[in-house]
Structure formats: structure tokens, C-alpha cells
């Protein structure tokens, strides 16, 4: 899932009504670019309830093998902190992105 590199379209290349005609093309918008801080998990307290995954507006939290703990795909995690706010065991915290 890499960012699609396309030239800016000419007027004659626009789709009808500027529609987006490719299903799933939102994946080209790497919302991770906006992030100023990222979520960091403390697995010791995580009960794997999946609340963070459900609330994440980017749908970028996956339960990763081998231990099946949640983790954010940083290509898309925009650093909103909703997962931190919603986690019932307070096992996620936001850490500032350094330069």
C-alpha cells in the first residue's frame, strides 16, 4: 500500500462530476502524514477488548500476531488520540513525534 504517484489531472482527465471511480482509493491518502503524536501501547494492561480498534476513525488498528495485541499502522494513524481516550484500561498513551 504505497502512495499512488500521479500527475495532477488536466481538466479533460477529470472523472464525471469529479467522482472517485476506484473503490478503496482512500488508501492512497496516507493520513499518517498529519500526525504530531502517536499512540504507544502498554501491553501489560491490555485486555484485548477491541474498543480502541472500533473507535479508531482511520480503521488503522490491527491485532498483530504472534501475541495478538493491538497496534496502529503508522502510515494511516493520524494521531487523533481517540484510542487513548476510549481504552477502558488506560493502557495507551500519546507520545510526541520527534523531528
Amino acid at each position: 500500500m504505497t502512495r499512488q504517484q500521479t500527475a495532477k489531472p488536466r481538466w479533460s482527465e477529470l472523472a464525471v462530476g469529479c467522482a472517485v471511480t476506484e473503490a478503496g482509493s482512500a488508501r492512497y491518502n496516507r493520513t499518517g502524514d498529519w500526525r504530531s503524536s502517536r499512540p504507544v501501547w502498554e501491553h501489560a494492561h491490555c485486555v484485548r477488548c477491541g474498543v480502541c480498534q472500533m473507535f479508531c476513525p482511520e480503521g488503522c488498528i490491527q491485532f498483530e500476531p504472534p501475541k495478538d495485541f493491538p497496534a496502529a499502522d503508522l502510515e494511516y494513524c493520524k494521531g487523533c488520540g481517540i484510542c487513548v481516550h476510549e481504552c477502558p484500561t488506560a493502557c495507551i498513551r500519546m507520545v510526541a513525534e520527534e523531528e
Partner: protein
Amino acid sequence: MEERIGMESSIAIAEVVGRCDVDVVAAYPITPQTHIVEHLSEMVANGELKAAFVPVESEHSAMSVCCGTAAVGARTYTATSSQGLALMHEILFIASSLRLPIVMAVANRSLSGPISIWNDHSDVMSDRDVGWVQIFAENGQEAVDLTIWAFRLAEDRRVSLPVMVHFDGFIVSHMIEPILMPDHETVRGYLPPFEPLLRLDVDRPVSIGPVGIPDIYTESKFLQHKLVVDAYQPIVETLEGFGKYFGRHYHPVETYRAEDAEVLLCTMGSLSETAMTVVDRRREKGHKVGLMRIRLWRPFPFEDIYRAVGAVQTIGVIDRAVSFGGPPGPVASELKAAFYRKPQQPRLVEFIAGLGGRDVALADFERMFDVLLSTRKTGQVPPPAFVGLRE
């Protein structure tokens, strides 16, 4: 087959919309458009018309529903007027920019305030720049014909734009007229099934109406302008096709006794019919006066205007709306803009008339022609005048 019947224009329009095999009608009733949507809802309720009638809670919702149904490929119709058109305003841009071929009747009526349910063109002029094709019918027959035509043009794949069919509220909408009504099979023979350029379809997902970042907005507006301008050729062709099929001929600009005219009066909508009577009277007296009737308002038919005006040096323009603090007549400013591109400009005399249902009587036209003839003689263009104003 066509049958000549005496019928109120609104009912005739509704009947013919049914014969166009419309799939969805989403509308909110507003005077003087009410009879059209009332009758359509009756036709659906009686099972005579196999369509969905969506009784929405406002015109804003009506146009929103229309956008949705046109986007799934349903042939969509609505009708409105005045404040109703104004309430639709923001969605009108969505319909045109998404290229949804909705057909809408506008029974032209003034805007508040003071509250007025009567006829003028202030609703049209407030929605001049919404990117729709806009055409005027002068009587019930024309409203019926241009409604059928509007579906054909809107759904033409070169165009795929929404179309407004304008006609004067009450004066046309409530008039009982002899109308040649084509039967269902005849309309079907003219109107092919709707094949949209793009449709919302779960099997082939698309997103319609996404954000347009600064990188593409300029291109999208250029394209939109071009599409409306380029609709001109398909408009002329389809009107010609309509004429061949139905035997009734329509043109972007029509003239009346203009061939050797020395002065021309320019009208839009039903006033043209009264104006013709006065042109005839003047011709009997040997006055070389003629009429130029603008039928197509958007795209603006520049070349037809130049052709109609020809070498005429004095033109009067009747505007039925006011651009407050502006030129002040919207049609007059359009003509001025058109002739500014030319090496020579005719003298343009501006009249504001027929506001909020004020009658424009034969005597008013006589006075306007007097002004035009004296302008031609003296070369002095009087300032814009509100016809019949009590001073």
C-alpha cells in the same frame, strides 16, 4: 398520435411527465407550481404512473432527493417556484456539478418581500449561475413540448446536465389552453431510456460528490463552464430533432417580424405573446418594429442574438427582475456584455416591467415602442425605466 385537448397547462405538464416514464418525482408544493406536483402525486396514488413520489418536507430536501435518485440512474423530475427555488439554491449547484440530468419546471414567480405569489423573473435571475441549462416556454403547449425535450437533452450523454423549464406562473401555469398532447407511445418513440454516464451501483462502487482540493477545483470549474457552453450544439440538434418528430419547431432565439425592423424589442417568456399583438398593430401603421424572443437563457445564445439583431441599431429590453444597485436589468446586462465583444454596439433601452404580477398591457408596449422609435430618431438613450411606475 396527438390529441387536441383543452387543459390547464400545469395538468398537461404533469400528464406529459408521466408519459416520459419518469421514475421519481420529489417535490414540495408551492404556488403557482402546486397543480403540477399535486396531479403527479394523484397519478402515482391512482396507479396510473409507476413512479415513486417522494413528498419531502422542503425544496432543499426535494432537490437533495432528486440528486440521489438521478445518481442511481432514475429519471427524475421536480417542479418549484420563487422561494422554493431559492431554498433549493445550494443543491442546484450540486446537481449541475455532479452532472445529474434532473428536469425541473419553474413556474416563475417573484421573490419576497413584500410577499408576492405573482409572476415575474426574480426567481430565475437569482439562480442564473447555477450551471443548469435554462429554457423558457411562452405558453402551455411550449411548456409541454419543452418538458419532453428537456429529458432528451438532459440525458444526452454529451450534455448530462440538469435542465430548468421556465414558464410564467399563473399566466402560463394556470391557463386552460388547447394543447396537442402526444400519447404515451409517441413520447416513448422520441425519448430513449435513460443511460447515465455514471451511476451509484453497489456492484461497481464509486464516490459521487467528494472534496475537490485546490489542485483540481479550477479544472473542474473550467470543465463545468465548457460543458454548459458546449451544450449549445446538442440543444440546437435536439430541438431540431423535436421539430422533425413532433412538427413544432423551437430555436434558442426566435424573432417576430424582425426581417426589416428598425427597432427591436427583446422579451423572454409569456410577454412575447402580447408584444406580438402590438408589433402587428405598429406594422399596420407602417412602423418597422419587430420582436426578439430569447428562449434559451443558459447557455446564453450569443451567436443567435447577433444574428437576430443584425444591423438593427436600437433595441429595447424588457427585464422582469431587478439586480438591486446593479445595471439594473439582468437580461439587458447580458445583451450589453454580448455586444461589448463586437466592434459596434446597438443602442440599448432598458425597461423593467411586469414585476410581481403587474400586468404589462398593450398600452405599455405601445409606449415602449414609442420610446424605441424616438430613441432611434434622436440617438438619445433614456435611462432604465420602471414601466407603469407611479411617480
